[in-house]
């Protein structure tokens, strides 16, 4: 167990979380507009701006450097858009051309001019989140409250983003959803677009300066994508994304400190771990989200398949009894296996579960339908034969052609649908094959 320092670790998490939330705001719209990689591009491309700012002023963390980075960020966003529109360059390629060239320029400037000084290109990538709480500034109007500079900076950016978003929420929403309609309604989608680019540039630069670009790239894309899996409204998407961002920041820092101890190392950069945690959260979301998740879908499919098998067995037993044959486990499973592709194991297991649930009463070899079992079975056969009647009469399918369809449909037919089927077919006594439809 590490020694946790409430002041340091608290501030680190607070800074990372503020950064994450500030990034998710433009991030949601970038993801919706399929420009997720803009954050990546800008965070690489700010390097020359920083280098020039640094060379002009000779020190890190000051206004000139920030201004240089912002200019480079804007340039990336707008020049790559311009290349796409007027140069007719593929969107991804346009971004790629601009940011790699600028990054190279930045590297060149740093190597040329900043040899002796401590501007390490690697802090562009992972930042120095761990050292951020050491750099304190006094907040104005608070009676001498001292907070980390990075925190104040990111808080300002977050507030600016929030103000822009809230005041222009309608415009942003329609521009993200349907730019051409937005233009038709004079909602100025281009204004929203430019503002979005500006927000992205400012957020990226501010965040990069405080915490490095990995967090920016991750927090622009990942929380928005996760939120999209769970909610379908823009407002809630922003909210969920922000929460995911905060969670990833906290969990990221915790694992960065604790996890390496398990294998006997000291802590690793928090920024990297936040990105990893974000990715893992997305993986988990894809697996378990209730609507589209891989695991829930698999479970539902499996459950429906088992339900279908049990219901088919019940209906088979009912038909056997209708014909005066006593159903046995052997006859039932053979009949079912000849009717559709199903394994012996699955059939046997389903039969066992039906017996356990009391749908069948076991009498030696014979399996008799119990009262509740017979009720369910009768509903199924009724659905089946009503569907056959309906498909023949209303749709005009040939009578010898409806069995398979009815066999599939009977499993999703409830009482209300049976009533409608009966009324639309005129409540027939017999199905198209001349067998009676049970009540």
């Amino acid at each position: 167990m590490t020694d946790w320092n409430l002041f340091f670790d608290g501030w680190i998490i607070a800074i990372a979380a503020t950064c994450a939330v500030a990034c998710t705001l433009p991030g949601c719209f970038l993801v919706l507009r399929r420009m997720s990689l803009m954050g990546d591009a800008i965070s690489h491309a700010v390097l020359p701006g920083i280098a020039v700012g640094f060379l002009l002023s000779g020190s890190r963390s000051n206004g000139i450097m920030f201004a240089g980075a912002i200019i480079a960020g804007f340039f990336t966003a707008f020049f790559s858009q311009w290349l796409r529109r007027f140069g007719r360059v593929d969107e991804g390629a346009a971004m790629g051309v601009v940011f790699t060239t600028l990054f190279a320029l930045g590297l060149l400037l740093i190597v040329q001019g900043a040899d002796s000084v401590d501007l390490d290109p690697s802090c562009v990538l992972y930042g120095a989140l761990e050292l951020a709480p050491l750099d304190l500034v006094t907040l104005p109007f608070t009676g001498g409250l001292r907070v980390p500079r990075a925190f104040m900076m990111l808080m300002i950016v977050l507030l600016v983003n929030l103000v822009i978003l809230i005041s222009l929420f309608k415009t942003f929403r329609i521009a993200a959803f349907d730019p051409s309609q937005a233009a038709a309604q004079r909602m100025r989608p281009d204004l929203a677009h430019h503002l979005l680019m500006a927000m992205t540039a400012i957020t990226t630069v501010a965040a990069f300066e405080a915490v490095g670009s990995i967090i920016v790239v991750a927090m622009i894309v990942v929380p928005a994508v996760i939120a999209r899996l769970f909610v379908h409204r823009l407002g809630s998407m922003l909210l969920v994304a922000a929460m995911v961002g905060v969670a990833a920041a906290a969990a990221g820092h915790y694992t960065a400190v604790e996890l390496p101890h398990l294998v006997g190392y000291g802590s690793v950069p928090t920024s990297g771990m936040i990105a990893v945690i974000g990715g893992l959260m997305l993986l988990a979301s894809i697996m378990v989200n209730p609507r589209q998740g891989v695991i829930p879908r698999f479970l539902r499919r499996w459950r429906f398949r088992m339900q279908t098998t049990r219901e088919d067995l019940l209906a088979l037993a009912w038909r056997l009894e209708e014909r005066g044959t006593a159903p046995t486990a052997t006859i039932l499973s053979q009949d079912l296996m000849s009717a559709r592709r199903v394994s012996r194991l699955e059939t046997r297991w389903s039969l066992r579960r039906l017996v356990d649930a009391g749908a069948f009463e076991s009498q030696g070899e014979t399996l008799r339908l119990s009262d509740s079992g017979r009720r369910d079975a009768r509903d199924l056969v009724r659905s089946h034969r009503l569907w056959e009647a309906w498909l023949t009469r209303t749709i005009g399918l040939a009578p010898d052609h409806v069995h398979d369809t009815a066999m599939r449909l009977e499993h999703v037919t409830d009482e209300a649908m049976r009533e409608r089927l009966a009324s639309e077919t005129g409540a027939p006594e017999e199905d198209p094959h001349g067998r009676s439809i049970p009540d």
Binding site: R88, R300, F304, T394, G396, H401, H411, E424
Partner: protein, 271 residues
């Protein structure tokens, strides 16, 4: 109410010489069934128009037949055998918007793509292929445009390029996805006479069509489709106001409801 083909009853027996025979085919995207229990036997040498409202699954019908989208169930046979084994007899004309017309290729290059499968790996496009490509381009009246980049063509000329790519394959069955969409009058006439020509040479063509006005004039068979086959047969018998009402009016809520639930379950996204 509707007319069915003289289709054999149960089981999977396909009419052996039918150019395209579809049995009990169901296709679903996400939880929405797009095609439901399709049964079809196209008559050899016929010119079939596939007609139905937007979202009726017209394109999906062709794509599923060509294995381009996965089927939930059912099977497709081309001249009595699975499509996999019969690819060389089938030519497909996709929708014009399905490709990037800014792509750096010439018109002739695109047409020659129709013959790549005859070349095999490692062999570059040769003179024989190019000659046949030129022939096909002449057929559609684009021989002067052979060496232009495709971006320089008008919409109708692009469509004719796609047609030439299908013609060059000399296939017995043509499947065309909305060849008449957004073309000029001249191209429409060219396409119609090409279709007639194909038919006179005994080829079978299935065309997705969106224009009810011209459908009865262009096609001798019509397939009215709305998620399922509403009616299929000779145009004179099938193209009736009642059938069109059934296709476009939508009287299928019960089946829709049930099939939607079922398709949802099959993909694990249902209740």
């Amino acid at each position: 109410m509707s007319i069915r083909t003289s289709q054999p009853s149960l089981g999977s027996e396909h009419s052996p010489d039918s150019p395209l025979s579809i049995h009990a085919m169901t296709v679903a995207y996400e939880r929405r069934p797009v095609l439901w229990d399709i049964d079809l036997d196209i008559t050899p040498g016929s010119l079939v128009g596939v007609i139905g409202p937007n979202g009726a699954g017209k394109s999906t019908l062709i794509k599923a037949a060509l294995d381009l989208v996965p089927k939930l169930s059912g099977e497709v046979q081309v001249f009595g055998r699975p499509y996999r084994e019969q690819r060389q007899h089938v030519a497909y004309v996709p929708q014009r918007e399905s490709v990037d017309w800014d792509f750096p290729v010439t018109v002739l290059d695109v047409v020659c793509m129709g013959l790549y499968h005859t070349l095999g790996l490692f062999r570059p496009v040769n003179r024989r292929i190019r000659d046949r490509g030129m022939q096909a381009l002449t057929q559609v009246g684009l021989s002067d445009f052979a060496n232009r980049q495709i971006a320089q063509l008008s919409g109708g000329q692009q469509q004719r390029t796609f047609l030439a790519r299908a013609l060059v394959q000399d296939a017995a069955l043509h499947l065309m996805d909305e060849p008449f969409a957004g073309v000029d009058a001249a191209t429409e006439q060219t396409i119609v006479s090409l279709l007639r020509d194909l038919q006179s040479r005994g080829r079978t063509t299935v065309v997705i069509h969106h224009d009810l006005q011209t459908a009865s004039e262009y096609f001798d068979h019509v397939l009215l489709l709305n998620t399922r086959v509403v009616a299929f047969g000779p145009t004179k018998e099938v193209f009736t106001p009642e059938n069109l009402e059934a296709t476009y009016g939508g009287k299928l809520t019960l089946l829709d409801q049930a099939s939607q639930a079922l398709a949802g379950h099959a993909q694990g996204v249902g209740r």
